[in-house]
């Protein structure tokens, strides 16, 4: 098979996006959606056909040289290795389903051309991240994803809060991007190349302390994109976008980009124990923080947003404890069930007549049993119900952490188990509030389009049975994903320990479920309490940032504006003008308009010159 065919994978969504940008507004809306769906679906099919190219060492192929200047070279080149293969397959697959869903969801929107063009470009940018063989090309996709998310989150820009949510996402992720850009330049300076495989191959050559700083910089970049502490505030607000966008951003793409970057650079990252510790710590703290916030959220999509943050935290934790296959495994299962949950949430919002608040839902099971069962599948995966995909992937991560054995990781492991319990609690809380109990919504619901409904079962299937991808030996599997990624040796623990840990997880899962069951089986009424508001507002991080960052920044801006621009620059310029106006006023009196006066001046001047010459000649 010709490796150059690989370029079609990102090129097709790009073509679809560009085509819709140029001609989409003149085509019927159905055609626009069809083109968008077809382009992504084609690249999915292509990925399946080209699967074999990714085995083993993978395929590296270059289309042309993008930038070349003495020692510096950046190619438009793809690295189709096992990691990229599995990620590409997931991105294109889930994106295809989301595009299909979006075709139904956006059927009545006027701006479908803009929407689908951005959606396609988003997929293109994500595929650039996944497939790039050098860091600059990856950075192109990295920024592209940021831009498209800005356009999509603020898609309904006529509402000011949507537009500002888009801006917030853009700016906050940009802070992370800055770290990544510094790391990129630094890596080039150290190695003289930006090719990922070369950097990874020669990572051992450099000074360990410098390596730690580099890893922390990369972590900063990943934190921005993946909404980890302390750059996580944009994610809940990003729910302002249309639901398919939330599904695309929070399931298949964007937020997983940070995890993917760390996996991509894992040979480099893994050389720094401090860096690994920091990654694990940030991941686990975010997981716990986000889970606690999800407990008291009222908007259905915000619950899911915080749960995404929490699950991404688990993935970071997995990278931190050194299991790329664990991180990727969780990334895959999470992509499936989170896309399912988001699109299910879109259906729920439609059914509830545009209502977002889960306190005003309830009893939706009677309205649409199918949506209930599908949503239940997603919730079960999220909560880590035994034998679902989410259970296996989360368990693999925590198992690896437990096996590390030292106190630091043991503590993080404990937090992880606790978080799993909290996750189970808020998942079932969501389920109970939305689908069970009495009906509480006033609005009349809309009909669901079949396109929206029938993309979900496939995802539910993948989510529930995603565990088969990397089934541990304990359950008679072969850890296929680990083998494919070239990380076959997982952790080896005595069977008794492993069973004990499973039991512990089960206890926490059931505990979370029981608490949710007891409290939310019937609607407890609007809950108002100080600590709930605290959690509702995400531990008031927004207020904190307002105080420690925005206020000083605004003060600085005010100083630059009032002090620097108005007082100093304007003062000098206007002052000079005033000065000349003043003195010009005196000079103006000389110009009387009287010929006699002028002629006198003439004569006096003449005399002066004459006198001067006389004086000179006398000397």
């Amino acid at each position: 098979m010709n490796p150059l065919l690989l370029f079609l994978i990102p090129a097709l969504p790009l073509l679809g996006g560009v085509f819709n940008t140029c001609f989409g507004s003149r085509l019927p809306q159905r055609a626009v959606a069809a083109i968008a769906v077809a382009s992504v679906a084609c690249s999915f099919v292509l990925t399946v056909f080209l699967w074999s190219l990714g085995a083993g060492e993978g395929t590296r192929t270059v289309l042309f040289s993008w930038l070349k200047s003495s020692g510096f070279q950046a190619d438009v080149g793809l690295l189709f290795d096992p990691l990229a293969t599995i990620m590409t397959l997931m991105v294109t697959g889930v994106a295809t389903l989301i595009h299909l869903y979006a075709a139904g969801y956006m059927a009545h929107d006027q701006n479908q051309a803009r929407f689908f063009a951005l959606l396609n470009l988003f997929v293109f940018a994500m595929l650039c991240i996944v497939l790039a063989d050098n860091l600059l090309f990856l950075f192109l996709g990295w920024e592209g994803v940021g831009f498209c998310s800005y356009g999509l989150i603020g898609f309904w820009y006529r509402k000011a809060e949507n537009a500002s949510a888009g801006r917030k996402a853009f700016i906050v992720t940009r802070i992370g991007d800055l770290f990544f850009a510094i790391a990129l330049l630094w890596l080039f300076r150290l190695f003289g190349t930006i090719a990922i495989d070369q950097i990874n191959g020669r990572a051992a050559e450099i000074d360990p302390q410098m390596l730690t700083v580099l890893v922390l910089l990369l972590l900063g970049g990943a934190c921005g994109k993946s909404a980890q502490l302390p750059l996580m505030t944009w994610l809940p607000d990003a729910m302002a976008g249309p639901t398919p966008v939330s599904a695309l951003i929070h399931a298949a793409t964007m937020v997983t980009a940070g995890v993917y970057l760390l996996c991509r650079m894992f040979p480099l990252v893994s050389l720094s124990p401090t860096g690994m510790g920091a990654i694990a710590l940030i991941g686990m703290l975010t997981a716990l923080y986000a889970a606690s916030c999800a407990v008291s959220q009222r908007e259905i999509k915000r619950v899911l947003a915080y749960s995404t943050m929490s699950q991404i935290g688990y993935m970071f934790f997995a990278v931190g404890v050194g299991t790329v296959s664990g991180a990727m495994f969780h990334l895959l299962t999470h992509a499936f069930f989170k896309a399912l949950l988001f699109m299910g949430a879109g259906c729920v919002i439609h059914l509830a007549g545009g209502e977002n608040d889960i306190y005003r839902m309830g009893g939706l099971k009677q309205k649409s049993p199918l949506v209930f069962w599908l949503f239940l599948a997603g919730i079960l995966c999220l909560a880590g119900t035994p034998l679902t995909g989410g259970f296996f992937s989360k368990d693999a991560i925590l198992l690896t952490a437990f096996a590390r054995g030292d106190a630091f990781f043991a503590l993080l492991w404990g937090l992880g188990v606790l978080t799993a319990g909290v996750t189970s609690f808020y998942s079932f809380r969501l389920l109970y509030l939305v689908f069970l109990g009495a009906e509480r919504q006033n609005e009349k619901g809309h009909e669901l389009s079949p396109l929206m409904l029938w993309t979900l079962p496939l995802l539910a299937l993948f989510g529930l049975f995603g565990g088969l991808l990397n089934l541990p030996h304990l359950f008679g599997g072969h850890e296929w994903l680990g083998h494919w990624l070239g990380q076959p040796v997982g952790v080896v623990l005595p069977v008794g320990t492993e069973l004990g840990l499973l039991l512990l997880m089960l206890i926490f899962f059931v505990g979370g479920w029981l608490i949710a069951h007891l409290r939310y089986r019937t609607f407890p009424g609007d809950e108002q309490a100080g600590w709930r508001n605290f959690l509702l507002q995400g531990w008031r991080f927004d207020t904190l940032y307002e105080f420690i960052l925005l206020r000083p920044y605004r003060l600085l801006c005010r100083f630059c504006w009032q002090g620097g621009d108005k007082a100093l620059i304007d003062g000098v310029v206007e002052g000079l003008g005033q000065l000349w106006m003043h003195w010009g006023g005196y000079a103006r009196r000389l110009s009387t308009g009287q010929i006699g006066f002028y002629l006198q001046g003439f004569a006096w001047g003449f005399l002066l010159i004459l006198g001067w010459f006389l004086l000179m000649s006398v000397k």
């Binding site: 110009s591 308009g593 009287q594 010929i595 006699g596 006198q600 004569a603």
Partner: protein, 101 residues
């Protein structure tokens, strides 16, 4: 040369100062023009004197040109004086101060 050059120069200097004094002191436009004429003729006299002194014909030629130019200038200036008189009904220079700053 019967008349010494100094005398010619003195005369023309006196004439020039007279003309200048007339231009500066008078307020009547026509009188100012006359002053200008006197100054021009003073210059012409100097040229003629110098021409005679150095036995060079150029100075006298220049004076011929000067006369032709003066006649043209006078006709234009007088036309303008007539025009200005029509506009304001006076030939007093103090009336024409539209160029005041």
């Amino acid at each position: 040369m019967i008349v010494p050059l100094e005398h010619v120069l003195f005369l023309s200097a006196i004439l020039f100062m007279l003309g200048l004094g007339c231009v500066l002191a008078r307020r009547n436009l026509i009188m100012i023009l006359i002053g200008v004429e006197i100054m021009l003729n003073a210059v012409g006299l100097t040229l003629v004197g110098a021409s005679a002194f150095w036995q060079q014909i150029d100075g006298q030629i220049m004076v011929i040109f000067l006369m032709a130019m003066t006649s043209a200038e006078v006709s234009i200036s007088l036309a303008m004086v007539v025009y200005l008189n029509r506009r304001k009904g006076t030939v007093d220079v103090r009336a024409f101060d539209e160029m005041r700053g």
